[in-house]
Amino acid sequence: MSTETLSSDVLPATGPRRVPRRSPEPIPFGRVLLVELQKMFDTRAGFWLMASIVIASVIATVVTVLLGDRDALSFDSFAAAVGSPMSILLPVAGVLAVTSEWSQRTALTTFTLVPSRPRVIGAKVIDVLAIGVVSMVLALGIGALGNVVTSLVTGNDAIWDISATSFAKIILANELGMLLGLALGLLFRSSPAAVVGYFVVNFVLPGISGALASSQQWWADHAGWFDLNQTRFLLFDSNLTGEQWTQLGVTTLIWIVVPFLVGLRLVLKTEIK
């Protein structure tokens, strides 16, 4: 190191030339909401997840028209055909909305730009729930289209057999799935772990529960108090009794509310690296 270089570096700093600035306006919550929504779609994974949901819905409608017993087809058959791939895949979007921050380590940027973690998580929850409603309305729209097309093909009158209440229940069932995804995301904070966890809860546990019920009378009688899927799926196509609503509340508490709160606490406390 020559003295020359040293002395030029050691020259006293020119001092602050910046004029004192006003403190910027706080970030409005609506902006956090929009940016978090954008973040769910603007990655390759996010884009294809959403695209695959739409593609699956369209395929389901086409397949129903082509292969279904056309004379027996009604609005309900289409809405079910469209809604089920959505209700299975959409919670994965809920999972990824949270876990990608950790798996992709974007949490580092997210929480330095918005230091309040409850605001960010709150925005994600609202966005995910909004997607849950919009997607079901979309499913209803695609189903209606299929229904109209079928009636044109068969010449029968289209059967519109979904009431507002049953649609509301379908939305509720879908939102519960979304919240389950979010809860698992908060709990695991890792995309692979949470996605596997979601599929285990949704597809493996019902099998185990079913097997248990066939061999054990007590479980067969009481599974509704513990098995979220059993109660949640009732929302799609039946009228729930008072007891079943209570069972839905209990299973939601066990499988969604508790994991959500535990996960939320972990996210608020954890060190972000």
């Binding site: 003295t3 700093a13 380590r105 940027t109 060190e271």
Partner: protein, 298 residues
């Protein structure tokens, strides 16, 4: 302006950051130097509100990070250039950050220009970025909100020599414009060239801090003469400590005094100047010797 006061972070029985206090002043580049695992990154994460300190505080522009209403507009933070979503394009990364800070989209293009990422590169996904490009993207993101303070953890990592030069000029310009820069590095030369002030940390504790000039100042004078032996004798005779080094003498005393002694002894001096400053590396190794992993047997 960054003020860190008695910052401490313990994990169980292990203290990663131990009563760290220092100030990074506006208009100056403060180098945060320390070996791996010394607590640099933990300190910076606490500053950015990502880690809760066990005790003590860190204030940026007089506030805790969490109290900043729109942090990106006041502090640019780059803690890890690799921490970006691999499936997002570089441009999209800047676009969402700009949107969050409430900045116009044109700011994204300005920043891409400022850090030297081309239009084509900005449309590539971050997965296909080199570490150097990620650093540039990270710097662009940190500068996006036209902040007054920059907190950068190892920003020179992965940059080629031209990139390192560019980064240095950029930080110099930012500080000269009145901004506060805190950058950490284990690359000693990098800090030595760009920093005005230096904070050295070892095993979670501040082992030295001050202006680079003070930390690197040498009290010794280098003197050369044809009659080196005679000069040495004269200097020692005058009570000065003199050590022969590479055809010259390193003497603890100021040049004027030494010149007069040589003159009195009738010895022609061929070179007389302040000895080269202690190299940062030596200082660094010396200061952290007791705390380094490679530490001596003691």
């Amino acid at each position: 302006m960054i003020t860190v006061e008695s910052l401490t972070k313990s994990y169980g029985g292990y203290t990663a950051v131990d009563h760290v206090s220092f100030t990074a002043a506006p208009g100056r580049v403060t180098g945060f130097l320390g070996p791996n695992g010394a607590g640099k990154s933990t300190t910076m994460r606490i500053m950015a509100g990502l880690t809760e300190p066990s005790s003590g505080s860190a204030h940026i522009l007089g506030r805790r990070f969490a109290e900043l209403p729109n942090p990106g507009r006041e502090v640019g933070v780059l803690l890890d250039a690799s921490a970006q979503h691999a499936g997002r394009t570089g441009r999209e990364v800047l676009r969402i950050n700009a949107r969050l800070m409430g900045l116009p989209g044109s700011r994204v293009d300005e920043m891409l220009d400022a850090v030297g990422l081309t239009e084509e590169e900005s449309l590539r996904r971050v997965r296909n970025y080199s570490l150097g490009m990620r650093q540039r993207l990270g710097i662009a993101s940190a500068l996006l909100g036209d902040p007054e303070v920059l907190i950068l953890d190892e920003p020179a990592n992965g940059l080629d020599p031209a990139g390192i030069r560019w980064m240095r000029d950029l930080l110099r310009g930012f500080a000269d414009g009145g901004g506060t820069v805190l950058l950490s590095s284990h690359l000693l030369n990098e800090i030595e060239v760009v920093a005005d002030d230096i904070v050295v940390i070892g095993l979670g504790r501040i082992v030295a801090s001050g202006t680079k000039a003070d930390l690197l100042a040498s009290a010794e004078t280098l003197v050369r003469a044809d009659d080196l032996r005679g000069l040495h004798a004269a200097l020692v005779g005058a009570g000065l400590a003199s050590t022969p080094a590479d055809g010259a003498l390193l003497v603890s005393g100021d040049a004027g005094h030494i010149g007069r002694i040589a003159f009195a002894a009738g010895i022609a001096v061929t070179e007389l100047r302040a000895a080269d400053g202690a190299r940062l590396e030596e200082m660094f190794l010396e200061l952290t010797a007791s705390t380094a992993r490679e530490g001596n047997a003691a």
